[in-house]
């Protein structure tokens, strides 16, 4: 409301100084959304399912899975952007929320294997190898999809809420907060590495057979999961836009830029941070839940500190504080990773490190920086 008003009233030079977020959605942004939707829901599914193999326009199963996986990463980058780009809180533990969502979905997928595992038992193979006779209590009801879906949201959400409440109430900020989140994900990784924890130890969950009765490796299932992921990304993008273009979004960026002023203006930053932090964690959990059936495996390495740092790199490369930037960042970095780890595997980490340094030094607003300057 306010920005429309200013456009109508303020002189032309004032409009160019409007925040970037407002401009990303003017005009061509909707066009890009249309192109993306067409690719997601028409070109890729048709190219994979209808165009015969060997044809120039055929989209391979590998490509569909890779694209679906990258879309999951893009959702994570978007979630990271809400908390880091807009609110100024750098989390180095977002991989944890992603993995927890993935594990919740993984429990359901393990239960769906039924007796088709190697051991032929009702229990997952790893429990049979541990000589367990029954499911531990926390596996109760996980054969129900709705319950697993609930866990996907609740486990990352409740953990983030409780952790965030104590951290924000104690006014832990900046690098201290980042380090604690890093330690948190590391601690969970160690916990999940243990066989006794009951989540398959270092092998995690794999060898899934079906989801909701559909064979998990079938091209139709993969395409459906891919489209679902794309729809989720679009939905979260609209949700993110609804937040950052509202007064709530302006309070969040105000917390980033001058938290004391926010406090002395009568807003309690604790609750605002807690809201966006918990929402961000839940979005990550959902991304993890979409990731696991497509990739076919979840193990504790998803909780490694390096994974969470990579999430921050996608977001920084794409451009903090714009909604579209981090999505491009996640796509670009992961396409680069897919190519490099095949062609020049030993150089990938150097390239990633170099990319981060170059972006930090020369493109502080990420790839979206120069792009948005062009449109203005």
């Amino acid at each position: 409301m306010a920005s429309e008003f200013i456009r109508a009233r303020a002189p032309a030079h004032a409009i160019s100084a409007l925040p970037i977020a407002a401009r990303w959605w003017s005009g061509s942004a909707w066009g890009w959304m249309g192109v993306a939707a067409l690719t997601l829901f028409v070109l890729v599914p048709a190219g994979n399912l209808l165009v015969p193999q060997g044809h120039m326009l055929h989209v391979s199963d590998y490509t569909v899975t890779l694209a679906g996986k990258i879309l999951c990463y893009a959702i994570v980058a978007l979630a990271m952007d809400l908390i880091w780009g807009y609110t100024g809180i750098l989390s180095l533990g977002h991989g944890l929320f992603f993995a927890l969502g993935g594990y919740a979905m993984g429990m359901y997928l393990m239960r769906s294997i039924g007796r088709d595992g190697v051991s032929g038992s009702d229990l997952p193979d790893f429990m049979v190898f541990l000589d367990w006779k029954a499911y531990p209590w926390y596996w109760s009801f996980t054969d129900q999809f709705w319950y697993a879906a609930l866990l996907v949201v609740l486990v990352p959400g409740v953990l983030a809420f409780v952790f965030g409440y104590f951290a924000f109430r104690s006014r832990i900020k900046g690098v201290y907060f980042s380090i604690i989140t890093q330690a948190l994900t590391y601690a969970f990784m160690l916990l999940f590495f243990r066989n006794d924890t009951g989540f398959g130890g270092n092998n995690g969950f794999t060898d899934f057979k079906r989801i909701l009765g559909f064979p998990i490796a079938a091209p139709e299932t993969r395409v459906a999961l891919f489209m679902l992921t794309g729809a989720a990304l679009g939905g979260f993008l609209l949700l993110g836009r609804a937040i950052v273009s509202s007064k709530l979004g302006r309070v969040l960026t105000a917390i980033r830029d001058a938290e004391t002023r926010v406090m002395f203006s009568g807003y309690n930053p604790v609750y605002f941070k807690l809201f966006i932090w918990t929402l961000s964690a839940i979005i990550c959990g959902i991304a993890g839940a979409l990731y696991v059936p497509q990739v076919g495996i979840i193990n504790p390495s998803e909780m490694s500190p390096a994974n969470s740092i990579e999430i921050a790199i996608w977001t920084a490369v794409g451009g903090r504080g714009t909604l579209i930037g981090p999505i491009f960042g996640a796509v670009a970095v992961n396409l680069g990773k897919s190519w490099f780890t095949v062609a020049l595997p030993e150089y990938w980490l150097y390239v990633l490190g170099l990319l981060f340094i170059v972006v930090t030094l020369y493109l502080p607003r990420g790839l979206a920086g120069p792009l948005s300057r062009k449109t203005s």
């Binding site: 306010a2 200013i6 100084a17 302006r250 001058a258 926010v262 002395f264």
Partner: protein, 252 residues
């Protein structure tokens, strides 16, 4: 939310407040009463406790002992910073603190008194009445022509004004202004003096200032702080003739 009870004339009561940091007594048994509608200036050398006093009133620092009341009923030592702001105490910092990535208009909009919880904030809509109020404040602080500019692009003096405008938008009863004219041009300082004098009466103002000419221009009543306690209190002339004040502060 209970209103502020000023039936006894006073709006701010500080009684025997002591605050110490690592053995250093920033405030030492300080007592002070400010009447509603007053324009009070607080002066004192560095380390006299001026900023600590503001910290105590706004909830940033808890006193080791003593009582701090806003009106007759509101115990400031029990409330958090946002709660105190919400009850009607606005604070301007020494270094101008505005939301630099937001426009001037949005800065006032964010400060404006309204329900400031998360959910209502998300769904807040600016009606035409609120818009007019914001425009009126922009007019008061001479920033109407800058409404659409990012606050970060303003001059130092303009940022000072914007912050004062944000305080006014909060509809406070008591304004604490920490060196509000620091870095302003003579012209801007003069306009600020006019603004503060015109605000007194409707609002209660406490101004901490080093610029003695400015204090002489606006002050109705001056309180001199020294080593964490009140050294002298009264009109500018009275204070300037006080032996103790001349010795420690005016340095003559």
């Amino acid at each position: 939310m209970p209103g502020v009870d000023i039936t006894h004339g006073g709006i701010l009561y500080l009684e025997s407040i002591s605050v110490s940091f690592d053995g250093f007594k920033a405030l030492n048994d300080l007592s002070l009463v400010v009447d509603a509608g007053e324009l009070r200036c607080i002066i004192g050398p560095n380390g006299a406790g001026k900023t600590t006093l503001m910290d105590v009133v706004t909830g940033k620092t808890r006193p080791d002992s003593g009582r701090a009341f806003f009106g007759q009923t509101i115990d400031l030592t029990r409330l958090s910073e946002p709660e105190i702001a919400d009850r009607g105490i606005g604070r301007k910092f020494q270094k101008p603190t505005v939301f630099e990535q937001h426009t001037v208009f949005e800065n006032i909009e964010l400060a404006k008194k309204t329900d400031k919880r998360v959910w209502p904030t998300w769904h807040a809509k600016l009606d035409s009445k609120a818009r007019d109020q914001i425009l009126a404040i922009l007019d008061t602080i001479h920033l109407s022509s800058q409404a659409g500019r990012l606050a970060g692009l303003l001059s130092h003096g303009q940022k000072q004004w914007l912050e004062i405008g944000m305080l006014l938008a909060q509809e406070p009863l008591l304004l604490l202004l920490d060196e509000p004219v620091a870095g302003m041009t003579d012209e801007e300082t003069l306009r600020s003096a006019e603004l503060f004098v015109s605000l007194a009466g409707d609002y209660t103002l406490i101004v901490v200032e080093h610029d003695m000419d400015f204090v002489a221009k606006i002050a109705q009543r001056v309180t001199v702080l020294h080593e964490g306690r009140v050294l002298a209190d009264g009109s500018m002339q009275h204070v300037q003739q006080d032996e103790a004040v001349i010795e420690v502060f005016l340095g003559r």
